[in-house]
């Protein structure tokens, strides 16, 4: 246990350096060759007329920052969900929450065509809340619903359902292309303005996550234990869910659907720092940030000079890891 406490501190201390390095990588490499001195100048002697400077400050930097943030949000959401439900498969992408967001955004595009970026974020939040609500209530209503397999299947089914409706509505109103453009991994379209708008939400979400982390640790021991220790489990679940909804909602609003980050990073975090969610939550956050930003850099090289959707890159790492988890931990035991 003594040793375990060093690990999270080391991770958290090293993370700023890692993040800085990745931001540098991300800014330096891209479809257009820009040398390091130009990057330096863009940061410190910004020249409005220089196209390269424009690219660095208005495209590559927001993109790097955005991918760091989204990675962190998704990983924290995943960690909270896994702790809260004691379900090692719980995660924003598997549970169909992103599909709820997409559904709401589709409605928003049709009925509120004048919506601002802020409205979109709000709609995205409402949508992810809707997704969570549907899936959790079904999971409690249905036989075996809270088991990993049950929840995964309900998530997949509801996800398919919501995205089916979204597809139907959007093709009826002939906005399929803009919807698909909107939610299919838009890391390359990151708008600085949107990031700024998302930050207040993110702060609330992360603070909630950190505040509730200790209670989630107790909850992850089991509902009975948690209740007998005098914890108000329902309150804890509500706060944790609120945090998940906020963080997942803004992630989708910023970049669309990105799978697997929220699933695998919490596992890695727990593997490294143990089961105390006071450490798991922040460590998952920084690990997720680094992972997604790295995947984003990779996505530019897999099919150079074309970009590969970030979802493909994360699945490339995510799927083998997921299989390993199932193989190692066994499905039956947790089902």
């Amino acid at each position: 246990m003594q040793l375990k406490h060093h690990v999270p501190i080391i991770i958290l201390m090293l993370s700023p350096i890692a993040m800085l390095l990745i931001v540098l990588l991300s800014v330096l490499y891209g479809a257009r060759d820009i040398d390091a001195s130009t990057v330096w100048n863009a940061f410190f002697h910004f020249d409005e007329a220089n196209v390269n400077h424009q690219i660095i400050m208005h495209s590559r930097l927001p993109r790097a920052v955005g991918s760091l943030l989204i990675g962190a949000f998704l990983a924290i959401s995943g960690a909270l969900m896994q702790g809260m439900t004691r379900n090692y498969l719980a995660s924003p992408s598997i549970m169909g929450i992103s599909d709820g967001s997409v559904f709401a955004i589709t409605l928003c595009m049709i009925f509120v065509p004048t919506a601002t970026s802020m409205d979109m974020i709000v709609f995205s939040l409402i949508g992810s809340a809707l997704g969570v609500a549907i899936i959790f209530s079904l999971a409690t209503l249905l036989p075996n619903g809270m088991s990993p397999v049950g929840m995964a299947i309900i998530g997949v089914i509801i996800g398919t359902f919501l995205s089916g409706i979204s597809a139907a509505i959007s093709s009826y109103f002939q906005i399929s292309q803009s919807v698909s453009f909107w939610y299919n991994a838009r890391l390359d379209q990151m708008e600085p303005k949107l990031i700024m708008l998302a930050i207040p939400f993110a702060i609330v979400g992360i603070i909630l996550a950190l505040l509730i982390a200790k209670s989630v640790t107790i909850l992850s021991l089991g509902e009975e234990i948690s209740t007998s220790l005098g914890q108000r489990t329902l309150l804890v679940k509500l706060v944790a869910t609120a945090s998940v909804v906020i963080l997942t909602g803004i992630s989708v609003a910023l970049a669309g659907k990105i799978g697997f980050v929220g699933l695998i990073i919490p596992h890695i975090a727990r593997f490294l720092v143990g089961l105390d969610y006071r450490w798991v939550v922040p460590c998952a956050g920084v690990l997720g940030a680094v992972f997604l930003a790295l995947s984003d850099v990779l996505s530019r090289f897999m099919n150079y000079p074309f970009e590969t959707p970030i979802g493909v890159v994360t699945a490339l790492f995510g799927v083998p890891f997921f299989l390993y988890l199932i193989h190692k931990r066994g499905g039956g035991k947790h089902a």
Binding site: L89, I94, L138, L141, L142, P143, P148, V149, G150, A152, I153, V156, I157, I158, T160, F161, G164, I165, A167, A168, S171, Y172, Q174, G259, F260, M302, N303, F306, T308, P309, G311, V312, A315, L316, G318, V319, F322, L323, I326, H327, G330, G331, G332, A335
Partner: protein, 340 residues
Amino acid sequence: MRKSTARYWAAMLTCAALVLAATYMSLTNGKFDMTVMDVIKTLLRIDPVPEHDLVIFEFRMPRIVTAALIGFGLGIAGAVIQGITKNGLAEPGILGINAGAGAAIVIFMFLFQGTMTDNGLLATLAMPLFGLIGGLGAAGCIYMFARRDGSLDPQRLILVGIAISSGFGAISLYLSLKMKPDDFEMATVWLAGTIWNANWEFILSMLPWLIILTPILMWRAPILDLFQLEEASAISLGVATEKEKSIMLLCSIGIVSACVSVSGSVGFVGLLAPHMARRIIGIQHKHVLPLSGMIGMLLVVVSDFIGKTVFAPVELSVGIVLSIVGVPYFIYLLYRAKKR
């Protein structure tokens, strides 16, 4: 016993009648309106009009036949897979077989893009084969990861399936992005699960699989009943469980792959049809299997008709219609199952 047989035939006949009714609706309705007489005259070859021939034989008929065949195939395969895994939530799509077959076919399109149009029939016949290889590949992965201590754990099967399915999905997406624009369009339309570009060649290419593999499954249906017991009891009754599981899984995968190679990934049929069939005639698999096929047929033909007409002028792919109609019903089913 008598009663259940009578009930089975009644259900089969009702389904067949409904399929015919849906076929009739589908034949007469569409962008090009035809009267009943037109359709009948065209079908019976009474003073044929070339225009009507074109609409009926080249556009509407192949589509309906394809819908019927894939519905039948997916329904039966779903019933078998649910029987083997003893899990009412299992489905070819959830197990990743669709995605595996899909990825293989995208690879096929990718490798042979351009040459595909030249030798039409040969390429068409090769597609289900590629699909089969992909389906088998997916099944192989599932087998490898879901096996533990020499037996196939049904729960793990599903978890691994979900992973495999998203992995192959990513591969398909990646490859389809590297294609030429024309092929890309074809690949994406196809990946969404659609049958609008159905033609007789496709039907010809999938038919052998259905004709050969369906009887094998029907013949083994009683063994599925034994699988519902504890594994040990089935073994003690003299069933070579692992061998039987493998044979039946292989046959189902063959059918699913052939269907997917024609229609893309059409989900939910394999999930819904067996549930509905079991509700109607109970758990005997020699009845459940064919009835699942018939219900699947009905579901896909009707969904295709809905997708074609309700949202006109836009066409919805049959997969989307199925998920919108099917999910609420499916949840209702699960809910009922708990209350009982």
